[in-house]
Amino acid sequence: MRRGWFLPLFATLGFGFLYAPIVSLIVFSFNESRLVTVWGGFSTRWYGELISDGQLLEAAWVSLKIATISASLAVVIGTLAAFVLTRFARFRGKLLLTGMVTAPLVMPEVIIGLSLLLLFVAMEGMLGWPAGRGMTTVIIAHSTFCAAYVAVIAQSRLRDMDESLEEAARDLGAGPVRVFFDITLPVIAPALVSGWLLAFTLSLDDLVIASFVSGPGASTLPMVIFSKVRLGVSPDVNALATIIIGIVALAVTVAGILLMRQTRRAR
């Protein structure tokens, strides 16, 4: 079949629409000029300046810590939720629970952020914990919505998995807990790794929820960038954004490859 001219055209337009802003950002991060919109020649000057910016580095470090911890927590919570939803026979409220697990995927971030903020304030008043808002509250908030993403990934993998593998292990004398760690976990591990990477990038990217639940001394990287940009876009932000795009692209690619390889092997 002849391809025609319109498919390549639409593909170009579509990808252009999606990626032109990002490409221009990357290009301008190598701009010599201080003026963001005027090309002044190639330079890596802003990357150098970035390294000496204590506030940004501090925020990057906070963000990395939060992303690592909340991605790990999200994997644990999400996997357990997925296991319950796929392996337990029908129980009362299973459908409701299934819906609720995936709700954070479609819930507006503003609402999640606000509701968590209210919860933390109320909890502090009643239980005295968490005392004030800071890294802990951001980690809790991020684990919550990232767990939903992990649950969705883990659920589909658990559903694809041949259940007779678990039965075979039971049959050979392993108790239910043993079966989970010996068989289920290794078999779904690649899905969990890609779930972790996805949760990590989501946490790293998040601005809205973090703005609601964060407190002094726990400004994440997106928060710092956002406040910087409000005073005018400086070229070092472009450099920083380029680095972040690089990290995120790498994580998403690795996650995608892992998932793809696993589906292929399952067949």
């Binding site: 007779s164 075979a168 039971r170 049959d171 004398g173 392993a174 068989i183 092997r265």
Partner: protein, 378 residues
């Protein structure tokens, strides 16, 4: 096989009324909601038997197997294995092991790790488990594949790993769910005999679930034919084939011609049955039949005589025309239409090359030995 230890004792314990069954299934029922998968099944299986549960899909054979392994809990009834009640015993504590239809080999473990898994779970040391695993792999002739992962094996090799893994713990009972179902025809026939050899070598009691009647006939010491959650008949392969108890069993195992008729006047040896298709035929008299009762006469296609001239001295003979014929090599099968339009299936062994075989549209005579009829009341 050099020796068969089972031969020294009675190899057909089910014929001995005093024999102690090894597995006793007592009035087992399993319901899933409104659906009754297994309905009040009772069954005795003896030590070192190779018992086949045979039936179509959804007949309850797999559910029965899963209740033996402990993956399903019976709604009511009792299962005893070697005198021990299995109620409340979870799958991981039962003296049974199962070979799954999908083989269920652990994809992240090597072949030897797969085989050793059960041994490690029962507390054997690593060295002990490895030694026993190697022994089992030797038994199934896969000792050179120990380090491979399951996805690097062919279907037949995977099947043997699954068998080795299930046998490694020396279970009292091995449950096999369609063990040869995923293999192609030729490999399946070879593997059947290998399976029998292994079973006889180890003396383990095998319970095989299958939908393939040839497989059941080849493998089994006894067959339990299942339909709609009940066992229609239990017996040795020959018994099931030669003396089916019902039309269902006669039809399910092999092919059969069934003729409906009414019992005529009683006679000492032979009795008459009035049929629409064959007229009045002589069959061996069976006890418990009353005159006028509806019965069905079952006749295997290979027992029918097919001749051009009336067979001299034949008691039951009717004319017909060959409608269809299929040459299969070692035999030919015919469809013969009788005067009333009824078609009779006949198979004839092709024993000679010189024959002038009966062919399409020929007028023939179909005759039946009285003793080859099986009189069925249900």
């Amino acid at each position: 096989m050099t020796s068969n230890p089972a031969l020294a004792v009675n190899t057909r314990p089910w014929t001995d009324p005093n024999a102690q069954p090894f597995i006793s299934i007592r009035n087992i029922t399993k319901r899933f909601g409104d659906f009754t998968a297994v309905n009040d099944v009772s069954l005795d299986i003896y030590r070192s038997e190779l018992f086949c549960l045979l039936g179509g899909s959804g007949c309850g054979k797999s559910t029965l197997l899963r209740m033996l392994s402990g993956f399903e809990t019976p709604t009511s009834g009792k299962i005893l294995i070697d005198g021990q009640d299995m109620a409340g015993v979870p799958a991981d504590r039962r003296p049974t092991n199962m070979m799954f239809q999908s083989y269920a080999l652990f994809p992240h473990m090597s072949v030897e790790k797969n085989v050793a898994y059960g041994l490690l779970r029962e507390g054997k040391s690593k060295a002990e488990a490895a030694e026993r695993a190697a022994e089992m792999l030797k038994l199934v002739k896969l000792d050179s594949f120990a380090r491979r992962k399951p996805h690097q094996l062919s279907g037949g090799q995977r099947q043997r790993v699954a068998l080795a893994r299930a046998l490694a713990k020396q279970p009292k009972v091995l449950l096999l769910d369609e063990p040869l179902g995923a293999l192609d025809k030729k490999l399946r026939e070879e593997t059947q005999f290998e399976l029998i050899n292994i079973q006889e070598t180890l003396g383990v009691t095998f319970i095989v679930v299958t939908h393939d009647q040839d497989e059941a006939m080849t493998l089994a010491t006894r067959i339990g034919v299942m339909t709609d959650g009940v066992i229609a008949q239990i017996g040795e392969p020959r018994e099931i084939y030669e003396t089916p108890k019902s039309r269902f069993v006669a039809d399910f195992i092999g092919s059969v011609n069934l003729f409906e008729g009414r019992v005529g006047p009683a006679a000492p040896d032979l009795m008459r049955v009035e049929t629409e298709d064959l007229g009045s035929v002589s069959v061996p008299s069976a006890p418990g039949l009353t005159q006028g009762q509806t019965v069905w006469l079952a006749m295997r296609p290979e027992r029918v005589w097919l001749t051009r001239e009336p067979k001299p001295g034949a008691v039951n003979s009717v004319p017909g025309v060959v409608m269809d014929m299929g040459y299969v090599g070692h035999m030919s099968s015919y469809m013969v239409r009788l005067a009333n339009g009824r078609q009779v299936r006949v198979t004839q062994a092709n024993e000679s090359r010189r024959d002038n075989p009966i062919s399409w549209d020929e007028s023939v005579h179909v005759s039946f030995e009285p003793g080859d009829f099986r009189v069925l009341t249900q």
